[in-house]
Amino acid sequence: MDTAADKVALRRAAQGHFSAWRIDTPFQPRLAELSRTDDWYSWAGYRAPHSLRDEELEYFAIRSQAALFDISPMTKYRVEGPDAEAFLNRLTLRDVTKLNPGRVHYTAWCDDEGFVLDDGTLFRLSAERFRLCCQERHLPWLLDSAVGFQVSIDEETEQVAGLALQGPTSFAVLREAGFAGIEKLKVFDLAELDHEGGKVVISRTGFTGDLGYELFVERALALSLWDRLVKAGELRGIRAIGYTALNRARTEAGLIVANADFVTSEHAIRANRLRMPDEIGLGFMVDATKGHFNGRRAILEARTRGKLRHVLVGLEIEGNVPAEHAIVYHKKHKEIGLVSAALWSPMAKKNIAIASLERPFGDTISDDLWVEIYAMRELQYQKLMKRAKVVQRPFIKLDRRTANPPADF
């Protein structure tokens, strides 16, 4: 399939995509069967569920049983070649030479000025083969950055199906499903296991702060993988969930979402919305000792010259009303920032929030912080001014997440 005519034929064969604005993930047949709420939204152009039956019960499935969440719409790139490690080390903030085959790390990458382009997870499938998962699209950036490296980069979002299996019984479900050796996976380990004559990559990772796994499989094997998990989880409370439940869990885990908690540099129209890693809580990733990586000079210069303007913090807020998108004040009148995610945490029994503040607030000045909450109750606002305290993220720490071997529940 290389001649010009073949290319035109391929292109024309794909014309019909406009007949469905929202395309289906490989798991849509199962999701559609389970959905009672018909509550879909667009996740990067895919039809994805906000909820399937009941967002509250779906949240509790994450925390008490095993929740199955379709992550296929996540953008995925395959990075492969003798220089893959060197390329990714040059691209991202963390030291990729320390990421062994069979391991995953959470990382981020920046433009030349040190502003974050995206965060994501990097899977090292073998010495020369990686998968990069993220929220936004970066193919031009990746291809341009790869000039001079012996590496190939392919966007494989549609070809690879992804599932997150999260919750206290997730390990037991995978064991019941017959994935031998799954007990050996420590947090951020991955293994390539057999499934229906193909391979499934299972990693002990997730976006919930709980015990959990993520599974990636070629598109054709998606439904059989789903069925295998559901069958194995029948007696362990497995339940498919939508994004609302997951979003609660990720907030409790203190994890951030690109273009929800910060604006990615290729999307920010307003220059003052750009953020360096230190400004969104990702400063820990920056490895100043590993040699050159993109944005390094700008990031280090901002650090030494005190040019970091913002800070992302966890807040604990008095009362019980979630402070979603509330303005944060110092001494009740000076506006110093904005809450980007908030909820009453069922696990912590606290009113928690993730907020971006203007330094020095949240950095060297953390006393006398307030949030203004507008609580709409039957067409009337209750205006609340509540005290907020900067606290460490994650808001909850669950021993079962890291226990080795993992427990059955």
């Binding site: 024309r12 014309q15 019909g16």
Partner: protein
Amino acid sequence: MKSWDAIIIGGGHNGLVNACYLQRAGLDVLVVEKNGWVGGAATSRELTPGFAYSNCSYVCSLFRPEIMRDLELPRFGLQVISYEGGAVLTRDGDYLANYRDHDAHRREFARFSKRDAEAYDRYARDVTRQCRFIQPLLMRTAPDPTSLKPRDLGELVYLAKKFGELSAAEISLMLRFWTMSISDFLDEYFETDVIKANFAISGIIGTALGPMSPGTAYVLLHHYMGEVDGSVGAWGYARGGMGAVTKALAASFEASGGTIRTGAEVERVLVKGGKAKGIVLAGGEEIYGKLVVSNADVKRTFLKLVDDKDLPDIFLRRVRNFKIRGSSGKVNIALDSLPEFPALPKNSPCYRGDLHFTDTVERMERAYDDWKAGRWSADPFLDMMIPTTLDPTMTAPGKHFMSCFVQYAPPKIEGREWTDADRDGFAESVISQIADYSPGFRERIVHMEVRTPRELEAEVGLTEGNIFQGELTFDQLLFNRPVPGYAQYRSPIGGLYMCGSSTHPGGGVMGAPGRNAAAEILRDLAKPRLHMSPAHDII
């Protein structure tokens, strides 16, 4: 003898906007229009029974929402409807569509190039950033950089402050953007010919430049800074055709007490002692006014309506040198039924958007080569739309009006005037291009109007048929539009003002020149401007 407070020469959209604001400030205003109808280049005309033609301008995005609000245009019938993005039909039998949905748009581009599909966000970000800088400048009088008047200094400080808010990287991007060719600019983002051609369209429309000419990147911006009800960059159809804009303006003007005289061609401006005193109509009738505002382009105004002797030499020279080169024409077609394009699926939303056939930047540039040689393009670039797919008011159900904007068409054919035979040849180049992609197209044609630069100048009054009343190149923008020293709507003649697209911020059915000129006039008269509301709270 009656002396009007203000006489507006020309009932185009800017003349009417200007007239409305002056009338609402309490002035007694007369609009004189040479045609038997108002509208200038924004008209809807029933040229054959049962078909309304948007026979000059044909889409709406730039028209300022604050003007629609201030002048209560919805009350007088103005409705603008957003349309779907269109498509470029390619010679290999495929097409590239522009869908309004972000992800569908990406998937469409991915059919051609995965890389280009994912490059769109950065492109959109960069262009939007430029729009955000330029948009607030539209509704402000450009400062005179040589003036020490507090107001000019204040405006310069405003500009400097806006500049100061930009990072070094943004300033360099901006300067590049204002001076680059659209082709070079797009090369920095995209690799696929048809995708580049798709965007380059906005860089050349109405401009006597090719996509490879410096300065065309800015022209693209000019087409991106409009909006439909807050959706920036979106384009729409005025319901009832573009005449709906000027019809509503005329109705608003008359409702506030203004007077319109159609069929009244102005022969010259009466000037006495360096001051405008009124106008003389073609029949010799003199009409007196305390001030005169010209909606005509700067060349027509000062080279035809005003005696050379009344004008300073350098000003006159600059007016003569003002670039207002004709580059385009219009072919307006009444159709018996909706044309079919076999390459485009029958249920494609692109039928309701703009259609194009020029699938490479190279082809656009070659079309421009013909213009340079003084010929219409053998393989022209068309911006073609069928507004009746969304607008039920223009034709009977099932019948259609098709508007084809055609580029390039020179103001003269190899140095001589256009002839009727030339015009027919020009039309044939258009029809045969469409027919190549749409079998049976010719059989659907009920009636056709062909407008070369000759007709646009003679009928609409646009010098050389230039749709922007002067090119939108950086040497003719901001405080250099139309000429240095006269960018604030005043002229060397006391009481004679300009309000057409020759002035800042330029052409398109925007209304901004008309409104800005009204603000300057009211300032000179020390009248309040409370009826002119600001544009946006947030950009």
